[in-house]
């Protein structure tokens, strides 16, 4: 709760440092009277503390305000975009886990061999290539040259493939690196050595004894990453014209739509807090040592 209160103050003040939004909603050359009328309409003519008081009292009542640009309730806008963001995040997460975990395990098991090197290159590219560039290359290749996939928009499974890949690659690389290092730690531990000495098959050692414990930090990261995917897909959603929260935030920032920026930041913050809590609970479920420590 304290985090959310601090977040509300910070974002309220920060967006107002970016300047007068009415300038962007009219043509340069608009009359002073028009600008003042618009400021009055948005409540920007009132002192800052009055604006903040109104913002907080509305927030408590569940009213996140009206968008300056769309002139519709922000909560309505947010909720209309949330399903698309969740869909994209889940698809990107599935992709990142399906690619990241197996390649991480193989890289750890075949450490310093060809598979490991290939995995490192994959991770390096995933972490260093900007997602907008990856997105544009995907559009160029799969939409324009091959004509296999739609270039943008949403609505079908085909629309989801490229944005999920562009968003998920970075996270696949992160999951691969973490799985690899976590597996290396576990594979070097005493109980894994003992399992091998007992003559257990290698697949059982890796699959049952090593992988389950190595999974804990990966799952923790994946939980947080899922929220991050929902909230930071700004660039990917813009490139692919994907109708999610990231694009809503981009539009909010571009038009200085204070209520939209405030609401998306606060709701995204709330999402981070809730998911962190859920991950902590899940962590305890997976790792008995945490339960017993309590």
């Amino acid at each position: 709760m304290i985090s959310l209160v601090l977040l509300s103050v910070t974002i309220f003040l920060l967006v107002r440092l970016t300047g007068d939004p009415t300038v962007l909603l009219v043509e340069p050359g608009a009359s002073q009277a028009d600008l003042e009328a618009m400021r009055k309409q948005f409540g920007l003519d009132r002192p800052l503390w009055v604006q903040y008081g109104h913002f907080v009292s509305s927030l408590v009542r569940g009213d996140l305000g009206h968008s300056f640009y769309y002139r519709t309730p922000v909560l309505e806008l947010y909720l209309s975009r949330l399903p698309s963001s969740l869909l994209l995040a889940v698809a990107a997460m599935a992709f990142s886990l399906l690619i990241g975990i197996p390649t991480g395990i193989i890289a750890a098991v075949r450490v310093n061999r060809w598979w490991d090197s290939a995995g490192k290159v994959f991770a390096l590219l995933g972490l260093s290539l900007p997602s907008f560039w990856v997105g544009l290359l995907l559009i160029l290749f799969f939409s324009v040259y091959l004509g296999w996939l739609p270039s943008s928009g949403a609505g079908t499974a085909a629309h989801l493939i490229m944005p999920a890949f562009a968003l998920g690659w970075y996270f696949a690389a992160a999951h691969m690196r973490l799985t690899r290092s976590s597996m290396l730690d576990v594979l070097g531990s005493e109980y894994v050595k003992l399992a091998r000495l007992k003559g257990l098959p290698e697949a059982l050692v890796i699959g049952k004894h090593a992988f389950k414990n190595a999974l804990i930090p990966v799952l923790t990261l994946a939980g947080i990453n899922l929220v991050i995917m929902v909230n930071v897909a700004v660039v990917v959603e813009t490139v692919f014209a994907w109708p999610g929260i990231g694009r809503l935030m981009y539009e909010g920032i571009a038009f200085r739509d204070f209520p939209v920026v405030q609401a998306t930041v606060i709701l995204n913050g709330a999402m981070v807090v809730i998911v962190s809590l859920l991950v902590d609970i899940l962590y305890a479920v997976i790792d008995p040592r945490i339960r017993f420590a309590r």
Partner: protein, 518 residues
């Protein structure tokens, strides 16, 4: 028997004649609308664009207004003020009374017939750009009968029609009073009803708008059944969508991507123009200590700029060169003699003014869009003749804030696409007290006051031309370019509507659009 036969025969002939006449009257355009056209829009679609009362003084909402709504009078192909929902209008000799005769049997999308009450209501409900000005000038609006509306002004105002009947405002675009009162303001935004050629089907804010043909549209039934507007914010993605045939028109394609459109078989690059121009403001020309105080220095700056070169490099030669800060398409525009690109003469002028080695001219401030794209080459050209300026690109909001508060110094790279006419543009930038005027000249101010009270259009035009002539003689500004709005068009549309209406950047009139016959 014979008379019966004659009667039957004459009836058959009458029916045949009637069929032929109806056929001729309806013509080929009366075929049921079919097919779909899709636009890749560069900016987020907003529900405020569905409501003429919210028009904010930018041209963008008219992209949608031309489809969903209709105005009493509006710009149409070949006419700056074409009768639309009003068949005709008159202005009294004293300039105080304007009377509009409404077109009969015009129906809104919900079937309601448009009446004078709707016109009165739409004006009174209007709260967009210049609403306070319009309402201050208009004393009363009366519905004389269902088909006649009278506007009475408080005092003669020669610009009444320029504000009321052009995209300067949306006050003349008519909404159905009964329906708006029934569904309320929020309800109207969610399910707008108008009298335009297309009716609302669905909308996802910022994502997609779908419209369907209104076959009872008074002008003619639209040929296309469905219009889809999709927001695609990224320019490269818009081009990809155009190449794949996902959209038929991609708005705002610039630079190398525009060249790619030109190279692509089946695609066409179509420029449109609206009342947008860019110019330099010499902020220190009223300071006797500044080099800019000397007219020769300001003239040298104008002669140093290769406008054609900038046009070719940035807009593939498709923009218009500007020699006035008033756009060429604006009412009361006066065409000044063009500035030549003449660096040797520019250097001579600087030497005559006492700056043979040039001078440090401080900053050239501009926004991060046009201030960089056009401002940067301008700065380079000025450097070449010895006017040493530093480009200062500023974030758009900060730029206009400082510009309006008169905090910028040196040269400002200015621009405006606000609709209206020459006096409206002059007031903001060249007249004492103007929001962006860093100074003014008494003779220009005096003539401006004179024209504001002149009801004779011919005399008024002479005064406005004289003002622009004085501004040119004083070299008050450094006009650069009227940037074209470049768009990609795919092969499916035979009539895409781009550039058909003067000073309108988008496709229109939508009822004229047609797909190519396969």
């Amino acid at each position: 028997m014979a008379s019966n036969l004659r009667r039957v025969g004459s009836t058959v002939v009458a029916v045949m004649v009637a069929v032929v006449l109806v056929g001729l009257a309806v013509g080929p355009g009366a075929a049921a609308p079919e097919g779909q056209a899709t636009w890749g829009v560069h900016i987020a679609l907003a529900p405020t664009w569905f409501d003429p009362a919210e028009t904010s003084g930018i041209i963008t909402p008219f992209m949608v207004l031309y489809a969903m709504h209709d105005g009493l009078v509006k710009p149409m192909p070949g006419q700056a003020m074409a009768p639309s929902l009003a068949e005709a209008w008159t202005a009294s000799k004293d300039g105080l009374v304007y009377e509009f005769a409404l077109r009969r049997n015009v129906r809104f999308h919900n079937g309601d017939v448009m009446t004078a009450e709707d016109v009165k209501y739409s004006f009174e409900r209007y709260r967009g750009a210049s609403a306070s000005l319009l309402k201050a000038k208009v004393a009363k609006v009366e519905a004389l009968d269902p088909h006649r509306v009278r506007f009475t002004l408080r005092q003669p105002w020669p610009d009444f029609m320029a504000f009321y009947a052009t995209p300067a405002t949306g006050a003349a675009w008519i909404v159905p009073k009964k329906y708006v009162e029934q569904v309320g303001e929020e309800g109207f935004k969610k399910a707008p009803v108008g009298a335009g050629p297309y009716r609302f089907v669905s909308f996802k804010p910022g994502v997609e708008l779908i419209l369907e043909a209104h076959e009872q549209y008074w002008r003619k039934p639209p040929a296309l059944k469905t219009l889809v507007f999709r927001t695609i914010p990224d320019e490269s993605t818009r081009l990809a969508a155009l190449k794949r045939g996902e959209v038929d028109v991609a708005y705002s394609i610039t630079g190398p991507l525009a060249e790619e459109v030109q190279r692509s078989p089946g695609l066409a690059l179509v420029p449109t123009y609206f009342t947008f121009t860019t110019w330099l403001v010499f902020t220190e020309q009223w300071d006797p200590k500044s080099p800019w105080h000397d007219r020769r220095v300001r003239l040298a700056a104008n002669l140093a700029i290769d406008r054609a070169g900038i046009n070719q490099a940035v807009y593939l030669g498709l923009s218009k060169l500007a020699h006035s800060f008033i756009p060429q398409g604006m009412e009361y525009f006066w065409a000044p003699p063009p500035y030549a690109f003449d660096p040797p003469r520019a250097k001579r002028l600087l030497a005559e003014a006492g700056y043979p080695n040039g001078f440090d001219a401080g900053e050239l401030s501009g926004d991060t869009i046009y201030g960089v794209a056009i401002g940067e080459p301008v700065a380079n050209y000025l450097q070449q003749v010895g006017v040493r300026v530093r480009l200062r690109p500023m974030e758009r909001v900060a730029f206009f804030k400082e510009y309006g508060e008169k905090k910028l110094r040196g040269i400002i790279f200015s621009g405006s696409g606000a609709p209206g006419n020459a006096p409206i543009r002059l007031e903001q930038y060249a007249i004492s007290g103007g929001r962006y005027a860093y100074g003014a000249y008494p003779d220009v101010d005096g003539l401006y006051t004179e024209q504001a009270n002149e009801m004779n259009p011919r005399v008024r035009q002479q005064i406005l031309h004289k003002i622009q002539q004085l501004i040119h003689e004083k070299v008050m500004f450094g006009p650069v370019i009227e940037p074209a709005f470049l768009n990609g068009v795919g092969p499916r549309l035979e009539v895409h509507g781009l550039g058909r209406i003067a000073n309108h950047a988008y496709s229109a009139p939508y009822e004229d659009l047609r797909l190519r016959v396969k």
